[in-house]
């Protein structure tokens, strides 16, 4: 497994892609979840009650960036897109959790879809932690399977 990570990230462009995807996901998620405020000042705030939520966002962002970049490498190698879809699905599931709390997204969803929006928003808020854990699980499996697959395919190539 280590050899595969070494192989993928020996190319600096994949480190750049991973870092880019990490920040593209991490920054919006901490803004949505109200850890980072941009107005009226840039302020980062984390309360003891929200430490777990923040940790899961960090894990989710790291795993998403690894899963997507490894699959980009895999797509380039064997032109097969199956697992990149899984990694995107895993990312979406994790990103949607907690997005509908009391924020503008919840307001838009509830005012547009009424009771159905309210139920969906409530569900995503209550089950934020289990949903994020599920998403992390999906991404973990995707990374493991991708690494295995890359290991097999690279042996065949070399």
């Amino acid at each position: 497994m280590n050899n595969i990570f070494g192989l993928v990230y020996s190319n600096p462009s994949y480190i750049l892609i991973t870092t880019g995807i990490f920040f593209l996901l991490f920054i919006p998620l901490i803004i949505i979840s109200e850890f980072l405020f941009l107005e009226p000042f840039v302020v980062f705030s984390m309360y003891p009650e929200t430490t777990l939520s923040f940790s899961l966002i960090v894990f989710l962002s790291i795993l998403s960036s690894l899963a997507v970049s490894m699959n980009i490498y895999r797509v380039k190698l064997i032109k097969e897109t199956k697992k990149i879809g899984s990694s995107i699905v895993g990312t979406i599931i994790g990103a949607s959790a907690g997005a509908c709390s009391c924020g503008p997204i919840a307001f838009s969803v509830i005012t547009t879809f009424g009771t159905a929006g309210s139920i969906a928003s409530s569900f995503l808020t209550i089950y934020e932690i289990p949903i994020r854990l599920t998403s992390i699980g999906i991404l973990g499996i995707v990374i493991f399977v991708t690494a295995k697959s890359l290991s097999r395919e690279c042996k065949m190539k070399f």
């Binding site: 109200e34 009391c102 924020g103 997204i105």
Partner: protein
């Protein structure tokens, strides 16, 4: 034959784009709203409705909180930031606090807001307000703010239950809650809770704060307005 894998990838991409667009539009609309104003119309509107005020009515700064009693971030702000504001600004007479209801999260949000004004009829608005946030539970419309629980909160505060029940069943304050919700959206441009307007009542200068910001944000803004 249609390739299901391609459809799945395309579907996932579409969902991702929708989420990103929703996020961008929701937050960018927020940035478009002017942050400062020298217009004190918002404050006059509240005065018209005689909103309960926590602290000195003659304080230089008024903090207007727009909230929903079922909002988790409002509870977080109530527990983490509000006590420090009360200690350093409200108890010292520098600022006062007004709560404007924006019940949108669930069907129990409106009765919860109405109940606070039924408690206000008996002089216990802020006690009831605090009780709601203290006993707020995770699940929206999960029963923690049902009619029975609202009555139990009133009982625990020693309110006249007969009067409270009559107030709730006849929807005495429904119009007021609805009016506050309209003010929150139209006057303050609130599209999330909690949203705050920090107003200098003498100059009319105001600052808007969106979200459960930490104490440092309020400290900086209030000090700049005093």
């Amino acid at each position: 034959m249609v390739d299901t894998k391609k459809i799945a990838v395309a579907g996932a991409a579409v969902v991702l784009v929708v989420i990103l667009v929703t996020f961008a539009t929701s937050y960018m609309s927020d940035f478009d709203t002017p942050r400062t104003s020298t217009n004190d119309d918002e404050f006059k509107t509240l005065e018209l409705k005689q909103a309960p005020v926590l602290g000195s009515k003659t304080a230089t700064v008024t903090i207007i909180e727009v909230g929903d009693y079922q909002c988790h971030m409002c509870k977080l702000w109530f527990e983490e930031t509000r006590p420090q504001i009360i200690e350093n600004y409200i108890n010292t007479g520098k600022a006062n606090l007004v709560f404007v209801d924006m019940p949108f999260l669930g069907s129990d949000s409106i009765p919860a807001s109405e109940a606070t004004y039924c408690a206000d009829d008996q002089g216990k608005y802020w006690e009831y307000h605090s009780m709601l946030f203290t006993y707020q539970e995770d699940e929206i419309d999960g029963g923690w703010a049902s009619a029975t629980r609202l009555q139990a909160f009133a009982f625990n505060l020693g309110l006249d239950i007969e009067q409270f029940d009559k107030c709730m069943t006849t929807d005495d304050h429904y119009a007021r809650v609805n009016y506050n919700r309209q003010v929150a959206v139209t006057e303050f441009g609130a599209n999330s809770t909690p949203t705050f307007m920090i107003v200098n009542t003498l100059s009319g200068e105001s600052q808007r704060v969106v979200g459960a910001h930490p104490y440092s944000t309020f400290e900086n803004l209030i000090d700049s307005l005093i």
